[in-house]
Amino acid sequence: MSVLVAAVGFGLITSAVLAISAVGFTLQFAVTDVLNLAFAAVMTAGAFFAYLVNQSGVPIWGAVVAAMAAGAVLSAALNYLVYSPFQRRGSAPITLVIVSLGMALIVEFGTAAIVGGVNVSYTMSQGRTIHLGGLILTTVQLAIIAISLAVMAGVYGLLRYTKLGKAMRATAANRMLARNCGIKATQVIAITWALTGALCGLAGAVFAIDVGSFNPSSTDIFLILILAAVFLGGPGNAYGAMLGALVIGLVTEVSAAYISPDYKYVAAFVVLLAMLAIRPAGLLGART
């Protein structure tokens, strides 16, 4: 019983980190039409930027904000310099996926070239531990969950109530039509890159806090979890990504507790392939 409870606790934290990344990834895909495989690399770049800021004496939560800024700038730059020129030329989606893999290499190993391939940790305190009916969590872990919930609520509010959110949804549904209705699609897409980039940077920093010690290649496998969560919920569907993140986070940690930590990703892998094979539109259907 206590094993299960502990596993669920870990699972919730993984889910929280995963939800931020998956929502960012899926919104990015829905609005910009780029299946951006460089997402996890940008996460790490953001996490390392936060590390440098943190090392210079800024407290950790200030460094997290710096990671968001770095993620936003880097993602917007990727769009402006690379993806959007390819799209304007009418490149096939698969070409953009290949290009995004190239970008993943550049960002990941560019980071490695700058900082070296070593493991680093933030300077921070884990805070008091808190017992919640069998769950033992640190203050920091609770903060991660709270941040994630706030992000989910924020994304919901953005998509549901704001003009920008509606413009994003319209652009996702039909870019040409949105343009004809007077929506500045190019602008909406640029803003989306910055916004989802900020989520990506945030996810990177939170991921780094969660795992404790990280290096430029730490998120390689995490990308698989993001993809699993996104495809489980339905690519392009923000609420689907939230649901997917919750399921994948819990499944990986619980299977790690009961089978073996070595195979914890296998469950995510099976879920992903099964979804692709049986229901490519995902549980909640594709696109917002």
């Binding site: 495989l37 989606p93 893999l101 190239g102 990703y265 296998v266 490519p280």
Partner: protein, 590 residues
Amino acid sequence: MYYLIILLVYLAVDAIACLGLSQQFGVAGVTNFGFIIFQAAGAYVAAVLALPPDTADGGFQTYLGGYHLPFPVPWLGAALAGGVLALPFTFLVGRRLRGDFAAVGLLVTAVLLNLLVMNYRPLFNGDAGVSLVPAPLQSGMFVGTSNGYQIGFGIAGLVAVAAVYWFLRRITESPYGRTLRAMRDNDKVADSLGKNLLVLRTGALVTGGAIAGLSGALLVSFIGVWSPAAWSYAETIVLFTAVIIGGAGNHLGAVLGAVLVPVGFEEITRFISNNNPSLPPNLLPSLQWVAIGLLIAIFLWLRPQGVLPERKRVIRPRAAAGQPGPAAGPDRRRPVAGSAVMLAADGVRKDFGGVHAVAGVSLSVARGTMTGLIGPNGAGKSTLLSLLAGTEKVSAGRISYAGQDITTLPAYRRARLGLVRTFQLASEFKRLTVTENLLSAVPGHRGDSFTGALLGRRYWRGDETAAIDRAYALIEKFGLTAQANDYAGELSGGQRRLVEIMRALMVEPDLLLLDEPMAGVHPELARRIGRTLAELCQQGLTILMVEHELAIMDEFCEPVIVMADGQVLAQGTMAQLRDRSEVVEAYLVG
């Protein structure tokens, strides 16, 4: 000297792998981001086929098998393993899944299989990998290091490259290869012309997988060890970079890419780092990956066709030109049941989410007529055509063709029954010439199958010649002789419409579904097409045509069906329809 031999063997391994990848990605358009797992499978299988049982060396490593089989069994087994391993992945690249989603699925598979093999020791000795794999035709441990043997191995590698190259050329330069390239350019259209995408893609995956397996066998036989570190998913990206730079779809380009990227690149960095020991150990490998990423982006931007682009296949008509009319060979028209109704829809519906694009349509098309289908934008005409052709599945209702219920038949099966469609949007195979576009549609071509292609030109030359004659007769009739060997993607909009109609006619359809065939075509030419189609109808062809140009409807189509809001509004001759107020209203309001 020894160094050169090593380079030569690595080159052979990479060249074989690049050839397999180029066949999948460049020719068949299957983006296999998990390519490396097929090489890995080949290497492991070759290793355990050649190794003695794992208890033999004091049990310091564990692995399945250990059969101690002589060369060339391990190599053959490796190719077989690569091919067989491809089978379970066919569900990913089959008919339904978007190419980029399938690619992601394969990438994920590659990452996780690597993790699994790394962590599960009983399979192939886990993280440490298998070692002491015997070299082919050698016994004992150090016999394989003699100079003569090494040179022989290098030569054997080159022979293997040549064999794979020959094999792939035989496939690619055949009608089967043409079909693969057509699928690469537009899979939905290939489907509508009667090509079974699932079988074609399976063929590409299995062929490429077997070749990758062979490359793995070659490598493991030479270096004697194989571990998960040797086949991380990133190795696939290196091979992709090589193929993109060399020229996807050009097999010589694939070999060139292998020389430039995996071999040339790694050797250059090794050279630099050997001469600058003061550099941080991690820096150069990191920069190497950055450079690979840059190469991908820069080449896809500046020269997407690669250093050696795909060759244009120029096909000329037979010297004995001036042969009369369509030298069509035997009449392939399928026997059709006696009924006068060629195609019937009964309560057909299609819902997209909450939108009822087609909301209960019942209609019938009589044999030998050129039936028109008109209606305002958004009436559901194109969707209806897609349902009739099988490009999309109906939400409800039944469709029958020549007395046979075809509601659940996939598009390619309907095309093989003689029910062929064209598309509203440009759908030519862009990187095939006009002639190739036409030839790709020929049904029942002897060379249009894997085995047919392997049997060689002599086996399918007869069919090809007849097909070329038919194609040129059509091209002449539609006035595109001057463009016959131009890439279809380079034609004007109107010319592309012609290519599409001709290509559909090459299938020898009994019923043709045309979606705005005259859009963007010069009015004079449109009339000529209309007359040609009318002639064909007199010879037994049936046509259902969506068209906005009412003058065309007036002149050629009878009866004409009017659709609005997903339903049939009226049916009759144009003269009758003009008298009906609701029809006129639907047009004005719509």
